[in-house]
């Protein structure tokens, strides 16, 4: 019997939906959040937080004078923060010149275009959707997690402190609160930009940010541990090294114990991911190459060679179920890791390369069809007809051969962003 129902949410642009053929993305997100809560890979420039706090401070000071209703007040504050960001991006762009690109500055091309005018406007268009993709969209959630801002974008005590040590300029502050049609000279932008540019951090800013980061014990421990190992090695090796160091620590606290187990899970999860995704990509490549369907019964040395390793890796990953339960106490670890666990169970029992192809293609289909938490059904990249494997559509073809599993990029566990936030990768000045 069908009764009426409220419809499901089904937007076309769910992020990450099409880059995760085997259902490892969501468990990865949970692992990364458990390791360093609050930070994100995309938000890796701490100066954004300082700028955001300054913008939020002048916005809330100005809005208090206006006596507006809740929604109007919020609108006005957002407008001021956005304008402040626009001026700051102009200043950074002009100060950094050619170096501006690759510094994590959002909307640089918009700023460069605006700087072609004799005087830059404060209400130029920055990004297609500044709210979503600019400072507020990318850095406000983190600033809220670091207790620099409230959810209404009002600076908290620590945020006020950060806003006041940020090299602000009263003239720029005034320009940001000014309603529309403001403009600013390039000389002024250059002068301010040299002080506030992205990639730089004052000692006081660094201290405040570090305090904010340390306010969460999980974050604190992760950042402290990251500082103990060199940044020259790749991230996973760095995490492995941390795990080793930590395991040698005597009298570990409960939290440290959980970190050891978490790093175990991360290491084995990534290894199993690496082997599964490289095999999957090899199947994609074979199917792309042949076009009219790759026969999975035909011998493939790479797959045959990798299978015993993948089986072993699946077994060790499954052996960590207790550790997963230990780390994610308040949630169901088996739910979070359902997709990799199911794949590991099947891989563990697999007896031939062609069976492994079946397992991977079948699992991929289930992922795309929403069995492991996707909101809607999506077309599979690969599908099988008898023993032949086909690529579903052109965009899913793989155009470079897969020769080893070393080519697979592991997931990123926010180390770069964390390093930046504790000032390890940045220039900093003393005041």
């Amino acid at each position: 019997m069908t009764l009426p129902f409220l419809t499901k949410y089904d937007p076309t642009e769910i992020p990450g939906g099409t880059i995760d053929p085997l259902g490892f993305f969501l468990p990865y997100m949970r692992l990364a959040d458990e390791w360093i809560p609050g930070l994100t890979n995309a938000a890796d420039q701490p100066r954004y937080c300082s700028m955001l706090c300054r913008g939020a401070l002048i916005a809330s000071k100005h809005s208090r004078k206006q006596d507006l209703s809740g929604i109007e007040d919020r609108k006005l504050r957002l407008e001021i923060i956005k304008r402040y960001e626009r001026i700051w991006v102009l200043a950074c762009t002009i100060a950094l010149g050619k170096k501006a690109e690759g510094m994590g500055l959002r909307g640089i091309t918009y700023a460069q275009t605006e700087l072609m005018r004799s005087r830059a406007r404060t209400d130029y268009t920055l990004l297609g959707n500044q709210l979503r993709y600019g400072a507020i969209g990318m850095y406000a959630p983190m600033s809220i997690a670091l207790e620099l801002l409230t959810k209404d974008y009002v600076p908290e005590a620590r945020g006020v402190e950060l806003a006041n040590v940020f090299p602000f300029d009263p003239e720029i502050d005034e320009l940001a609160v000014q309603h529309k049609d403001g403009s600013i000279s390039k000389d002024k932008l250059l002068e301010w930009g040299r002080k506030v540019r992205v990639g730089k951090l004052l000692a006081q800013e660094k201290r405040i940010l570090r305090d904010a980061l340390n306010s969460n014990p999980k974050r604190k421990i992760a950042l402290n541990l990251l500082e103990t190992v060199p940044r020259t090695i790749n991230e996973l090796d760095r995490l492995r090294q941390i795990r080793v160091n930590l395991s040698h620590t005597k009298n570990r606290t409960d939290l440290e114990e959980t970190r050891v187990k978490l790093l175990d899970v991360i290491a084995r999860f990534e290894y199993f991911y690496n082997l599964s995704i490289s095999a999957f990509n090899l199947i994609r490549w074979n199917a792309t190459k042949t076009g009219s369907g790759w026969n999975s019964l035909s011998p493939d040395n790479f797959l045959s060679k990798q299978l015993p390793i993948a089986k072993k890796s699946a077994e060790t990953f499954l052996g960590l179920k207790a550790a997963m339960q230990f780390v994610f106490r308040d949630t169901q670890a088996s739910e979070i890791f359902r997709s990799p666990i199911e794949l590991a169970k099947k891989t563990q029992l697999c007896s031939s390369a062609s069976e492994w192809v079946n397992i991977l293609v079948g699992h991929h289909k289930e992922v795309q069809h929403g069995r492991f938490g996707e909101s809607t059904e999506k077309a599979a990249w690969l599908f099988k007809n008898n023993d032949l494997v086909f690529v579903g559509a052109n965009r899913y073809k793989l155009n470079t051969p897969v020769t080893s599993n070393y080519e697979i990029e592991p997931h990123s566990y926010k180390s770069l962003s964390a390093d930046n936030f504790i000032g390890l990768n940045l220039e900093h000045e003393k005041i």
């Binding site: 009426p4 129902f5 949410y9 089904d10 769910i14 969501l26 076009g291 909101s375 559509a393």
Partner: protein, 692 residues
């Protein structure tokens, strides 16, 4: 039903594997968004892949798929502007006198007929983001579903909106109904079926709904979900008086669910007209609560255990639900009608055309299920008596209705020249007939008529006391213009410059229509440009439409340029286009349908080979050049890789190669001497064996 059984509307439009090919789609909606409809909804329904899948390779494939599937859309006059630009093969019918607000979608696939009653319009937000309400029923071969529901839906579409439906739409509806009847194997099993109620006829919709509530059964709670509310007391009075007439006392709790505005993590305030508070004070026994529905995407909205899209806040309430609950009995009404005067209370002459499906359910389990599935998630509720201007948002006023020529019912174009073959005709030849079904506007004495938007062509409509059909014969430029614009501009005393009004093509015209609005078959140059990526479909359209106006083909050489030079350039362009052609062919092979169209229809290697043969026959191409081109086409088709090399797909490819072969043989019959030369034969053998 568990919450996890909820679907998105896109799911309902995606055919099941057994559904087969689409045959027709009839829809009534208030609003249609062209881009969403043409690039997202239709491809999904036509099994061509959706925007999300990125399987869609070329818009002309959708257009050609529509050749086998009749699509008729009835929409409101105020929303016509957003629906401009749909394919010529889609009929747009506009409600001329009343607001068309019902939302019903009837899809007929080869082995499945699906009827959907919902609150969602044909827009991207409606189908993908909003919080809408929906219900559907399927009819398959040997089904035991209740066919009377489908009949009620169809009769409603015909009777309530009768004047706007064209002949083809009525034909599609009747075929659907007949097929559902034919497929029925056994009598309808005892199931909980809804009653279909249309608003806009006999008596107000709210009265019809309340008539179903059992007499003297006390109402414990009433829940109303609506995105829009009237400022006046009308709907509330109608609800309370309606229940009183059934001897039901007014001592129940009334819950009103409104869109919440504000920060969903902190506080939401309902969007609700404060004035209603004053009206409801008349019934002190009724305890009224306002609930703010959250725009936040929650875990119930997606089957996502990980809540990774929790931060999104773009789910807006657009569902319309009325629930009346006694201890055991539940009345659940869902559909298109907002809790407004126009939606529920007006008399037939001024009421909106609305559609609600209503269930009367017995038992606590069903009641719990309905409550869980029809009441939206909220953040905070407030007693109406405690509400003031600080804790509600006043809704924005309704926008004014645009002017509309309500005296015109339909405009239909019938191109009378078979296969659009008007190349040889004089530009002044009458090649089509435009039929206008209308009656006189209120001011009969002022002149009224229509123009084509070209600043030249103007037709007066004769005054009439009854509804009549007036026919106008159109020449080549006028027909071309209409095929491109698909609208005329109707003027009368209130709108002297004219208001755009859609024209539909007759079924016969659609059969002959080669590719969307081109107005004639694309020429060789156009096809080459298209495959080379130099022209998109719209540019193809621009060039295509100039030809008939000039009375000549763009590739004609009537101004004395040396044919050999033209040929040289054409053949060179041809070689350059082969790569693009191959890519397009390969991309089309995800589905049988897409492949059939790309390999065999108007924009295909077969079409290109035919135009080459035609050019040879008109001495615009040497036989060797033409032979070379056709052989190259054969080689390109042979080497195109097919995704999912099924038997059907192999047959399509084979058919394409066979047709190219036949065209080559025709060429050979006419130019045997040149093509049988040893040099050409050697070339042919090498080419077909795959050597360069």
């Amino acid at each position: 039903m568990k919450k996890s059984d909820r679907k998105s509307l896109m799911d309902l439009f995606s055919p099941t594997p057994e559904a087969g090919t689409p045959i027709s789609f009839v829809a009534a909606t208030y609003e249609l968004e062209t881009d969403f409809f043409m690039t997202d909804l239709l491809p999904s329904m036509l099994s061509l892949g959706t925007r999300r899948d990125d399987l869609l390779t070329s818009p002309h494939i959708i257009d050609q798929a529509l050749r086998d599937c009749a699509v008729h859309i009835l929409l409101d006059r105020s929303q016509y502007a957003d629906a401009r630009g749909v394919s010529s093969r889609v009929d747009l019918m506009i409600s001329s006198t009343r607001v068309q607000h019902s939302k019903v979608y009837l899809i007929y696939w080869e082995n499945l007929i699906r009827a959907i009653v919902t609150s969602a319009n044909l827009t991207r937000d409606g189908f993908r983001k909003n919080r809408e309400v929906a219900w559907y029923i399927d009819y398959k071969v040997s089904h035991s579903s209740d066919v009377s529901i489908l009949r009620n839906l169809i009769e409603g579409l015909e009777n309530i909106t009768e004047v706007q439906l064209n002949h083809d739409a009525i034909k599609s509806l009747h075929l659907m109904h007949q097929t559902a009847k034919d497929w029925q194997k056994s009598q309808t099993k005892k199931k909980v079926s809804p009653l279909i109620l249309w608003g806009g006829n006999e008596k107000p919709l709210i009265s019809k709904i309340l008539d179903l509530w059992p007499t003297q059964t006390p109402v414990k709670e009433a829940h109303v979900v609506s995105p829009f509310w009237s400022k006046n007391s009308g709907p509330f009075e109608a609800l309370i008086h309606g229940l009183k007439s059934k001897n039901v006392q007014e001592d129940f709790v009334l819950h009103l669910y409104c869109q919440g505005r504000g920060d969903p993590d902190v506080e939401l305030r309902p969007v609700f007209p404060l004035e209603v508070k004053r009206h409801l004070a008349k019934w002190p026994l009724i305890d009224v609560f306002l609930h703010s529905c959250t725009p936040k995407v929650g875990s119930d909205d997606v089957s996502d255990l990980f809540k990774r899209i929790d931060e999104r806040t773009d789910r807006f309430l657009h569902a319309k639900v009325i629930l009346l609950l006694s201890t055991e009995i539940t009345l659940a009404a869902i559909g298109s009608a907002n809790f407004t005067e126009n939606g529920l209370c007006r008399n037939p002459d001024s009421a909106n055309i609305e559609l609600m499906a209503v269930w009367i359910l017995n038992g606590k389990a069903l009641q719990d299920s309905v409550i869980a599935n029809l009441l939206p998630p909220t953040l905070g509720k407030i007693r109406l008596v405690d509400v003031d201007s600080k804790n509600v948002f006043e809704p924005s006023p309704f926008s004014e209705e645009p002017k509309w020529p309500d005296f015109v019912e339909l405009a239909e174009l019938d191109v009378t020249v078979p296969k659009f073959d008007w190349k040889e005709k004089d530009v002044t030849s009458k090649i089509s007939t435009l039929s206008i079904r209308y009656r006189s506007p209120k001011d009969k004495n002022a002149k009224f008529g229509f123009h084509l938007g070209d600043g030249i062509t103007d037709f007066l409509l004769p005054s009439t006391n009854i509804t009549r059909v007036e026919k106008f014969d159109l020449d080549i430029p006028q027909t071309s213009l209409l095929l491109k614009s698909r609208e005329i501009f109707i003027y009368w005393v209130e709108a002297p410059n004219g208001i755009a009004f859609p024209i539909n093509l007759t079924a016969e015209t659609k059969v002959d229509l080669p590719v969307q609005s081109i107005g004639h078959k694309p020429t060789e140059d156009q096809l080459i440009d298209y495959f080379s990526g130099w022209k998109d479909r719209n540019q193809l359209l621009e060039v295509g439409l100039r030809d008939p106006e000039q009375g000549q083909n763009v590739t004609d050489n009537s101004i004395g340029i040396d044919q050999r030079v033209i040929q040289l350039y054409t053949v060179r362009s041809f070689v350059e286009c082969l790569q693009g052609l191959k890519k397009q062919l390969e991309e089309s092979t995800s589905t049988d349908k897409g492949m059939r169209r790309a390999f065999l229809c108007e924009i295909s290697p077969v079409a290109l080979a035919n135009s080459i043969l035609e050019n040879y026959k008109q001495s615009k191409r040497t036989p060797v050049a033409a032979g070379f081109q056709i052989l190259e086409l054969m080689r390109t088709v042979s080497s195109a890789k097919i995704t999912g090399n099924t038997k059907t797909k192999q047959q399509i490819k084979k058919r394409c190669i066979d047709l190219l072969n036949q065209i080559y043989q025709q060429l050979e019959e006419n130019a045997n001497r040149e093509l049988s030369s040893p040099i050409f034969q050697a070339f042919k053998n090498r080419l077909l064996s795959g050597e360069n």
